[in-house]
């Protein structure tokens, strides 16, 4: 018997609600107001890049999935799954898993649950994350809190794997992380760790600099800047890199932001680093719709994790019409 079956037996109303934002992670920079200090030149400039040979590298990504499995009154009880993996690219150019970790847990406003439901949950589920609520919190708000809890669990898993990977990284080997590098001090301080950010919720420039940054042509990068605010809990250097021409598409099409150690060496190597990242455009990460910004190895890690994830988190394709019992 699963813990959510036990919960339903204890009186919870069964549910099978998969919130629209539950099947992936978000890179929305919803932290402090972001800002940038240029560390390369006096104004945002663009630099031409030529693809170069990629160095040995590992790639890290994580996934998160969650769904509401029951309600105690209007309080949702959530089942969540997070996983992360590091896949190392070998001399044969194939990716193989070097590290991986996953966690399946429940998220519930324990304090608000009826005693028998709370007992059932605590007895049958070893890993329960509590979200604290005030009396009368709306279910929608609780779901947002659940999302943050899942996001946080996934980030912790990624951080842990990244740090384990860094400990065993080869002398010339790089670690490329899908997302922010600045979430971890060890990551942010490593000379061969890179963060590749695909979403651009946080804008570090304004005015003409912003225009220059966001209209950087294909095969070009911007000047390096120090990222402030947003998720940046540790100091990192960053720059924009355009992988594919955006003209005829969208302003952010093919645009990634790179994070690297805040060090003069990063500035010196920015063009070279951008060169091999540019080479990672091929093979295309299709059929993922974000293929213009998604590096294939990161896509590969994500595919790997999704293939190993529990299958019952996906949105059911069957009709949600009430059952007739026949």
């Amino acid at each position: 018997m699963t813990w959510w079956d036990a919960l339903v037996r204890a009186g919870a109303v069964p549910a099978a609600y998969v919130p629209p934002a539950s099947m992936g992670r978000t890179d929305a920079d919803d932290g402090a107001e972001p800002g940038a200090d240029l560390v390369e030149g006096d104004a945002v400039a663009v630099h031409a890049i030529a693809p170069t040979l990629s160095p040995p590298a590992c790639f890290l990504d994580g996934i998160e999935q969650w769904k509401v499995v029951g309600y105690d009154g209007v309080l949702p009880v959530v089942r969540a799954y997070v996983a992360a993996a590091v896949r190392r690219r070998g001399p044969d150019r194939r990716l193989r898993t070097a590290f991986e970790s996953s966690r399946e847990f429940a998220i519930a406003p324990l304090a608000g649950l009826a005693p028998e439901r709370r007992r059932a949950l605590e007895e049958h589920c070893a890993d329960v994350v509590e979200i604290t609520t005030e009396q009368g919190t709306q279910p929608g708000r609780l779901l947002e809190l659940a999302r943050r809890a899942v996001d946080s669990a996934r980030a912790a898993l990624e951080r842990d794997l990244a740090e384990r990977c860094l400990a065993g990284l080869g002398q010339k080997e790089w670690l490329v992380v899908d997302g922010l590098l600045s979430v971890s001090g060890k990551l942010a301080g490593h000379p061969r760790a890179l963060g590749v950010i695909k979403s651009h919720g946080a804008q570090f420039f304004s005015g003409a600099d912003l225009e220059r940054a966001l209209t950087v042509p294909a095969d070009h990068r911007t000047s390096v800047f120090r990222a402030r605010g947003g998720h940046a809990r540790n100091e990192v250097y960053s720059w924009y890199l355009r992988l594919w021409p955006w003209e005829g598409n969208d302003l952010l099409y093919g645009l990634v932001r790179i994070e690297a150690r805040a060090d003069a060496a990063t500035i010196a190597a920015a063009t070279a680093t951008s060169g091999w990242l540019l080479a990672e455009r091929a093979p295309l990460a299709t059929p993922d719709t974000r293929w213009d910004r998604l590096l294939y190895p990161i896509h590969d890690v994500e595919t790997y994790l999704k293939a190993r994830a529990p299958r019952d988190f996906a949105v059911s394709r069957v009709s949600r019409l009430p059952r007739t019992g026949t």
Binding site: D92, R93, W276, A282, T286, P287, Y296
Partner: protein, 645 residues
Amino acid sequence: MIARPEPVAIGRVVATELKPSTPHQFHFWTANESPIGIGAIVRVAEGERVVYGVVTDGFAYSDLATPLHDVIGAEGDPARAAESPTVRQEIRYWTAAVLRQIPEEPLQPVPLGQVFVASDTDVAQALRMDAYLHSATPTAIPIGLYTSGGLEAPVYLDADFLLGPEAAHLNISGVSGLATKTSAVEFLLASVFRHFPAHKGKVAAVCFNVKGPDLCFLDQPGDLSDEDRRRYELLDVPAAPFERVHYFAPLKADGVNLNTLRTHPELVDDVTPLTWGLQEVVDFAEVLLNRDDIDAKADAFIDYLRDRVLGRSFEDGFGNSHQVGTFADLDRFFRLVFDGLEMSGRSDTWRTHHIATMRKVRNRLSNISTRCKGLVTDDGPSSDLPWGAFEDRAVYVIDVANVDPLGQDLVFARAVSKLREHLERRDLGVDAVVVFVDELNKYAPGDGPETYVKKMLLDISERGRYLGLVLFSAEQFRSQVHRRVVGNAGTQVFGRMDMDELATPGYQVLSPATKIKLATLPVGELMVRHPHFTQPMFVRFPKPPVLRGRDGMGRFPATVDLPFEDAVARQLVHMDRRIRPNQVKDLIADRTEEDVRRALAAVRQKRPEDVLAYFRKMLGGRVASDAPRERQVVPPLNPISDEPY
């Protein structure tokens, strides 16, 4: 006890709604680098259920959504596509046909279990060979080695299904010139001779050499590599030529030189002339007569001759006594009957047979010895296969490669009929005979007229297994052979095939990958279908242990025909080494070749102690020829008929 290493899974069964597992087929994936290939046997284990399958198709694809994405990724430059830092995820996806499920009931879809490369034991289980390999009376006959996944496991046929009585016959197809069909049969005969079960008695083979020197050197060792010898060892078949091979070949038109390519002085002595007289031929007169010739009247008259005249004392009603044993006697018989009719002025019938019918039959029968000169003798004794004294594990090669088609038909029809007669009476000397006939496209075509040979082949195919008369046949295009001949072959073997042939309906059951493999099969590899195997299997067989025809011609080139006197002398010297050729030449000087041939044939048949003396006796004294007497011609009283005869 030797601990066996745990087998390592090399794949996993996968099933989707579109491509589900069924009780007869499943799909699995493997790592890119795996020993699996088309024809490989795999084992699926899940719980108590074990499923054996043979790989029939393979697929590889990557996560590339459309080829255009590869072009875009490489910016239109194929060279850059190969330089991408990461190789796309790809799959090796295989389709396998189920060979066997254990337990066999209830028959269920193949479980989604792990896939292992088959071991020796698995191969035996998968092909259901365990039933006849390890029974109290084993009937297993190796046909080759299953070689896949680094494994070399012998594959066995069941003698009960290869040589009767359950099923029988073997048919082999393949394009010409790859030394596969004949080689395979030679190897298989060696295997049959080594492994024919003791409880089934004795076995021999009769091989018709119908082209070139193919089967002329079965008693000579061929060149075998160490690899071949190792395979022979694995299959427990001696890597040596056949110990007992008997060659038979008709004579050429001169009546003394053999009509075969095995005429090298070192080998020709082993060839026994094959010559038949009237007695041997008349039973098969139908073979030699045109379809237009055969009618009820001719048939009745031939029967009359057979029953009342041939081989017995016979009065023709005109005061003549006959003892017809040869074509010469038959000619005399006809002449005297016709003369008698003319002289007596009687009607145009004799003993209810119309004279025109008689003249037609006479014409056709008399012509036989002309049309098949060398095989059929006008006069003198015959020289035949040792009916009733066939030796165990002996090969009897009848070389008709250089005989005209009519003669080939006669040889085939008579040899097979005699085999059948003796096997029915159980007095052949062996209990089973394998008859090997190549070029079925010629002898048993799917279309064309109903020939006597085709009828014989059909007869063997349909009834032979009850008698122990087994047909091993070969052809280039299976689709163009009579359906009942190939259909009755319990075991079917395929060498490299022509793609056009593979496109015919008979091969629709094969997967495209199997067809491609068949079209590109290397020399020494075959696909085998056998009643115990639920799917065709690919096997390798070693090079046959005998000298190939072409190589044999290099090592033992045929000699040119000897002059008449030398040929006669050589034959007599061969029978008695004390004879000097000049003695023979003196003896036959001024004698007619007919007389010499008749005397030689008598010596061959008698095999006397003193060959020369017997030859001299058979030759008889020299008789001075008289001037021919003028013959009184009596004109017929009435015109007999308008028949042109």
